[in-house]
Symmetry: C2
Subunit: 233 residues, 2 copies
DNA sequence: CGCGAGCTTGACGTTGTTCAACTAGAGTGG
DNA sequence: CCACTCTAGTTGAACAACGTCAAGCTCGCG
């Protein structure tokens, strides 16, 4: 485990990489969050927290990429979300039963900021505007999940893979060319299919000239075609 | 449209069917919610709100059953949740973009209490404990969605139908015998399969003696067997 | 140079959807 | 009161989509 705490990080008051989630915090609120706050670094493949463990800290991704996933039947994973900075990388367990209901793993070198749940909760109580922002943030994730449910239940494999590629291109890497930090298995876990099926779709997209793939380097040559495949399902 | 407003309903202060969500409200909070509050009755099959429409009221189910669903590709629906009293029957749109991202329909005669979103938001700002309860409530739904995502992506049809039957038995009707207020199509929409597939599973369960079905009357004779099928996927 | 993990491909079997036909029951109009 | 129609439910047959299994490949690393 990579528990390299960095306590000499800038404190919240001076923090310039703050999430919009924290826009409405007063200096006093920030001081509360800053108590016991610390930063941890993770290497690729390292587990940040594990499904079933207790929910002790609210974790904010400062740099790197993280996959949030649930472990399902026969230890098949479903990747719920890929997170990039600056974003909360916690699930819904905090106010439910104080446990994590998913796991989180670093995909690349990661820095994460840890805030004690009690301090977080205290600020929610102190600052109604922040509470509202928290609700908004949770609602966004919820909506994202709903959309994914439709995709995963109603699109077939080519549509799901195409959608995933667009997601990485548009939302994660912000470019039509990118080095995917996921293995083929993880790409498949994101789409809810087997890795063989995912690979076959990539092969087909390659054959028809919509994408170029070499190892983990992707180049979406014809995004509109991919969009079309994604929409047709 | 069944807009039978019942303004002579008891006001919030005297309301005895209150959701635990509202346990921390002060009399002042209740007075705020009670402004412009009204109750609407719906008949089975009537639409309560529609995906894409604007989010003007927070709606609380007082009596009856409601299905919340999303309209997907080729107008195939996915039923996200069946709600029973007393429960909020709104989706995540309120704080995101002020629109509904799902639809809600009465399955049986329904009474629903309408609270203006602005009043609701005001109480969230006034009362941090309520804000926390709202976050908890949303988190619960979110967790429910996550679990369903696993089911819908990793279980095959018999497992999904079995799980649905257990859900109706345990969570909705509270009995191993019940009259299902869903059509076969709706049962299928809940499981994310075609109605033909759902029917075939019911047929098999019937043949092996796990359930008895006559029209919409269900009798789970061997719940443990159904549980087993649900778990095996 | 050889080993191993992740990737790729093909062949095959299963699952579930699609399509079409048929049935039963409720509602409608003559 | 009886056709007629329309909808929901049911069943069977054919087909397509995916997953499974097994074999071979590639590439990085010891």
């Amino acid at each position: 485990m990579a528990l390299n705490k960095i306590r000499d990080c800038v404190n919240c008051l001076e923090c310039d990489i703050r999430s919009p989630l924290f826009r409405n915090l007063t200096p006093e609120d920030q001081a509360v969050l800053n108590q016991e706050r610390f930063v941890v670094k993770y290497q690729p493949g390292e587990l940040i927290y594990k499904q079933g463990s207790s929910f002790t800290h609210v974790i904010i991704l400062i740099s790197g990429l993280v996959k949030s996933y649930m472990e399902g039947k026969n230890s098949k994973d479903l990747i719920l979300r890929i997170s990039k900075p600056v974003e909360l990388i916690i699930g819904p367990g905090q106010f439910v039963d104080g446990k994590h209901h998913n796991s989180a793993m670093a995909l690349v070198p990661v820095e994460a900021c840890y805030i004690a749940v009690n301090n977080y909760k205290e600020v929610i109580r102190r600052n109604p505007l922040f509470a509202e922002d928290v609700i908004r943030d949770i609602s966004f994730r919820n909506l994202f999940s709903f959309k994914r449910m439709i995709t995963l239940t109603q699109k077939q494999v080519p549509g799901r893979v195409a959608e995933a590629l667009l997601y990485f291109s548009n939302d994660i890497y912000g470019s039509t060319t990118f080095d995917l930090n996921l293995s083929r298995q993880e790409l498949a876990d994101f789409c809810g299919v087997t890795k063989e099926s995912a690979i076959r779709v990539l092969k087909d997209l390659k054959a028809e000239g919509s994408i170029r793939v070499e190892g983990n380097h992707f180049d979406l040559i014809d995004p509109q075609m991919i969009q079309k495949i994604s929409e047709l399902g």
